[in-house]
């Protein structure tokens, strides 16, 4: 556990705003999942979009996550970032952005990778579902 964690990192874990459990949306267009057995972590990201194809706009993003706190924080941050963006635009989100925003230590990078894998799958599915 990184004892020197960033305050924003911790507050996202303690009070995430994009948990699926808290989300009222029932119509999702893209679902992506990934896991990291080495960290005993799993993440699912769900996207609700309007319009089709890569230009479709993401109106809501939510996550479910089992794992260390940093996984929850990364998932929450990614969901916040992709909302109100097009699918094409959301694809531009990269690992470095997550690492910098949450000040991840080297040992926490797996969490960003895990969440990005889940997001990539969700974006691909949302694009094809609406295209």
């Amino acid at each position: 556990m990184n004892r020197d964690r960033d305050a924003g990192w911790l507050s996202r874990f303690l009070a995430p705003r994009h948990a699926i459990a808290e989300c009222a949306i029932i119509q999702w267009h893209g679902l992506g999942e990934a896991d990291t057995p080495g960290e005993d972590a799993h993440c699912r990201i769900q996207l609700a979009c309007e319009h089709g194809g890569d230009d479709g706009r993401i109106v809501a993003a939510a996550f479910a996550a089992f794992g260390p706190p940093v996984v929850v924080a990364c998932a929450d941050w990614v969901c916040e970032q992709v909302e109100d963006r097009t699918i094409k635009d959301a694809r531009r989100l990269n690992l470095r952005a997550i690492e910098q925003a949450l000040a991840l230590a080297a040992g926490e990078r797996y969490a960003a990778l895990l969440v990005m894998d889940a997001l990539d799958m969700a974006l691909a599915r949302a694009s094809s579902n609406l295209g």
């Binding site: 699926i20 459990a21 080495g38 699912r44 089992f66 929850v72």
Partner: protein
């Protein structure tokens, strides 16, 4: 215990706040008896009196002669002196028997000895964390020279039957070393009746200061010194005695001698009340059997939450609970509690485990325990909801 923010301190197995009278005893020793207690002049004798008073109190608490106590920096040093000292004294014939659930102070010292050629046997425990006495007797009968067992496990609070273990050691002539860091002040200890040859204790677990402990060495028990210098303490542990630390230890020992039985009854009732809150959750398991647990301890494994998330959620959320985990890291990386794994818990169960340990500043007013129980239940539910169906 005060803290920088609103925290419920439930980690008395890690350390305890100073007991009433301890600070004053230390201050008095520092200001009024500052001389070296080994000095023969009057100020030195005054300092030595402080040391003797503390030894009298601690000796009475464990039924040992005051002059058989060696002051150390804490239980870790005591354990090192006991194990290394006894093994070195015996030489090539040394065979040390211990238990896989011991504190790392013992396990790491045994590993060090093993690398230098000492024969070491580590015994397992059952699902309740208890040592199989028949298995122990078989190994001791095979020629063990030293048996080292902790009285109360630091993670679970499981109590080992020291009197029975002492009897086995007595039958076959093996020495018994007991790590009593977690049992001093919580359970009766009688070095004579329990056939204890070596006993390691620490002050800060009973309301004393950090940095002071003791090793009881029964007369005619052969151990080799590990710290050399001025020949203090019969040459077994050289170095000028820290009079104020020893006075603080003595004051804490006096306090627990007066309050132990009623205090442990009070804590057991609070501990059971805390468990009553927690067991309303599905998928929780109490580690250890109630009948064999020291009063302040409650160790709980939780299904369907990640251990690190649970620990961080409890310790960093609001109100914060100052609790511990054996090893709150990745179960998949094998970093979960070795104590709970030895008791048969799965890596995930052992990874998602929390130790509550109550103490003298845990309010008798049940509101604090009720709040802690409610907070734990809420955090587990929150994390399970976050995990959803993943």
């Amino acid at each position: 215990m005060s803290a920088t923010r609103d925290v419920r301190y439930l980690d008395h197995a890690a350390t305890t706040p100073l007991a009433p009278g301890v600070f004053e005893a230390m201050q008095q020793a520092l200001l009024e008896t500052p001389a070296n207690p080994a000095s023969l002049h009057a100020p030195g004798r005054a300092a030595a009196e402080q040391v003797e008073m503390a030894a009298d109190t601690l000796g009475t608490l464990v039924n040992a002669r005051p002059r058989d106590l060696i002051w150390t920096s804490g239980a870790t040093e005591s354990i090192n002196l006991a194990l290394k000292g006894a093994a070195e004294f015996v030489g090539d014939a040394a065979h040390v028997v211990s238990v896989v659930t011991e504190h790392s102070a013992t396990l790491d010292t045994l590993a060090w000895l093993e690398r230098r050629g000492t024969r070491v046997t580590r015994l397992g425990v059952d699902s309740a964390g208890r040592l199989d006495l028949d298995a122990l007797e078989t190994v001791v009968a095979d020629g063990a020279t030293l048996v080292s067992v902790m009285h109360v496990n630091n993670e679970t609070g499981v109590i080992q039957d020291i009197e029975a273990i002492g009897a086995i050691c007595g039958r076959y002539g093996a020495l018994l070393h007991v790590d009593a860091a977690q049992s001093l002040g919580r359970l009766p200890i009688d070095c004579a009746r329990m056939n204890i040859a070596l006993l390691s204790v620490s002050a800060h677990k009973i309301g004393g200061p950090k940095g002071i402990g003791a090793l009881f060495v029964r007369p005619r028990t052969g151990i080799a010194a590990q710290v050399h210098g001025g020949g203090q303490q019969r040459g077994l542990r050289s170095g000028t005695l820290a009079t104020h630390q020893i006075a603080g230890f003595g004051a804490a020992a006096r306090r627990v001698a007066e309050t132990r039985d009623s205090e442990q009854q009070r804590l057991a009732a609070l501990r059971d009340r805390l468990w009553a809150h927690i067991e309303t959750l599905d998928g929780v398991m109490r580690n250890g059997e109630r009948a064999h647990l020291a009063a302040p301890f409650l160790n709980v494994s939780v299904a369907d939450v990640h251990g690190e998330a649970l620990l961080v959620g409890l310790t960093e959320g609001a109100p914060a609970l100052a609790v511990s985990s054996g090893a709150a890291c990745s179960a998949a990386k094998g970093q979960s509690s070795y104590v709970l794994r030895a008791m048969g818990r799965t890596p995930r169960e052992a990874g998602a485990s929390i130790r509550f340990s109550l103490g003298s500043d845990t309010d008798t007013d049940t509101a604090a325990v009720d709040e802690a129980g409610a907070r734990f239940v809420a955090e587990v539910r929150r994390l399970r909801a976050l995990a959803g169906a993943v």
